[in-house]
Amino acid sequence: MNTVDLETQSLRSLNQSLHDLIGTTEKTKWTVLNPKGAHAIAAGIDSPMDITIDGSAGYFCASMNKQADVHIKGSAGPGLGENMISGTITVDGDASQNAGATAHGGLLNIKGNASARTGISMKGVDIVVHGSIGHMAAFMGQSGNLVVLGDAGEALGDSCYEARFFVRGEVKSLGADCEKKEMRPEHIEFLKDILERTGADAKPEEFTRYGSARKLYNFDVDNASAY
């Protein structure tokens, strides 16, 4: 177990120690004390490791994560897990704007609420938010799954491609070309698995699925006003 106290050690030395493990295969364990909202904690890591961040993190925490399992005991600032490739990020509190933006893979598990633009341009990540999310979530989402146990704000899934959205509560409004879809057995199966993996207290049948109406894929003059 490696413990790094950001009260006495620099953020740069922490991130350098984590980056020095890139290319290694042995699983390591890390605890980061006194994060106090610092930016870019554990950004750009790429090796199997468990990292516990003992408090709240600032911008871009665990962004570009590959392979690591990151647990934030507090809340996270903007850009949490941005461009994540694989691994998991679990946040006990809330996440600010742009959580999981452009992320290609892995699992982002937010136990509290997430704010605006959650999963914007998501490209394969699975995001589970136990609370509610803000406006413009999954704007231009390409693939992956966004599961929300609470409510979604305005313009969910605007201009989305093949990302799937499952919302248990209210959706304030759907974005352009995003529509309600039927729940098929494979969606129930998917939800059952991911809800169990993320410790979410909800039943798959309670969710509504949303996704692309696929009307904006190719230019059509009749849709000009929607572009």
Binding site: G37, G58, S75, S96, A116, G134, H135
Partner: protein, 298 residues
Amino acid sequence: MCGIVGLFLKDKSLEPRLGELLTEMLVTMTERGPDSAGIAIYRNGGGDASKLTLQSENADEDFATIDADLGNAIGATVTSERNDTHAVLSVPSDKIDLARDALSKIRPDVRIMSVGETIEIYKEVGLPKDVAARFAVEKMGGTHAIGHTRMATESGVSTLSAHPFSTGDDQCLVHNGSLSNHNRMRRQLRREGMVINTENDTEVGAAYVSWKMKTGSTLGEALESTIDDIDGFFNFVVGTKDGFGVVRDPIATKPAVMAETDQYVAFASEYRAFVDLPGIDNARVWEPEPATVYFWNH
């Protein structure tokens, strides 16, 4: 960019520490705005006196005998307390308009930072820690205070373009963002009789809120109408003599976080500005919703 911090105390026992707590918050936001900084602090008010906070490029010369000179000009007792490039004048409240007019004649180069019963505004170009130190902000007590660290976008780096802006008695506003319709709105507000001194977009936002309150709106109503009438990106934090308000534009691209305990309400651009506040580990911490007005009153 730009950084905003604000602290509105509910617990009187914290009042002597207001300046110290705000300074820590302000300095933490240096990376968001290293070119200038300012604070508005509400303190030591009441009675029959009002305060004029002044700033001068030639403070030694301008402030040496300003109490006697202004006192003679308006026929009243005026006291002055110098603080670096600023001075706080205490003037009988019924003579405040006279004092403003007289100042423009006897000290035409002196700038009025704020007018009111309890507000004082201090702002200068420089790193937040240096600005806070030159005014000894950490020694100031008070009921509530707002601070700003600026990274200029809409207008140049100067003392007058630094925030907070005050466009009404005991009112101040700080801003993170940039406004799109400020030129047109500046012309409209000037036609309504509002005094706007700079080409800065934020001052127009401040004047808009002051104008709404002057024409009958409460602080909350004035902030509500910014959502409809002001175009652009903004987080506004506004102070009045006994109030503290927050509003974000509907798109909400600028960061904001709030914390509340039994002792205080705090606002900051980033959570890390809160980490030294007492009891923060047990505070309710949340991100204010877009297009939603929050305000607190004493």
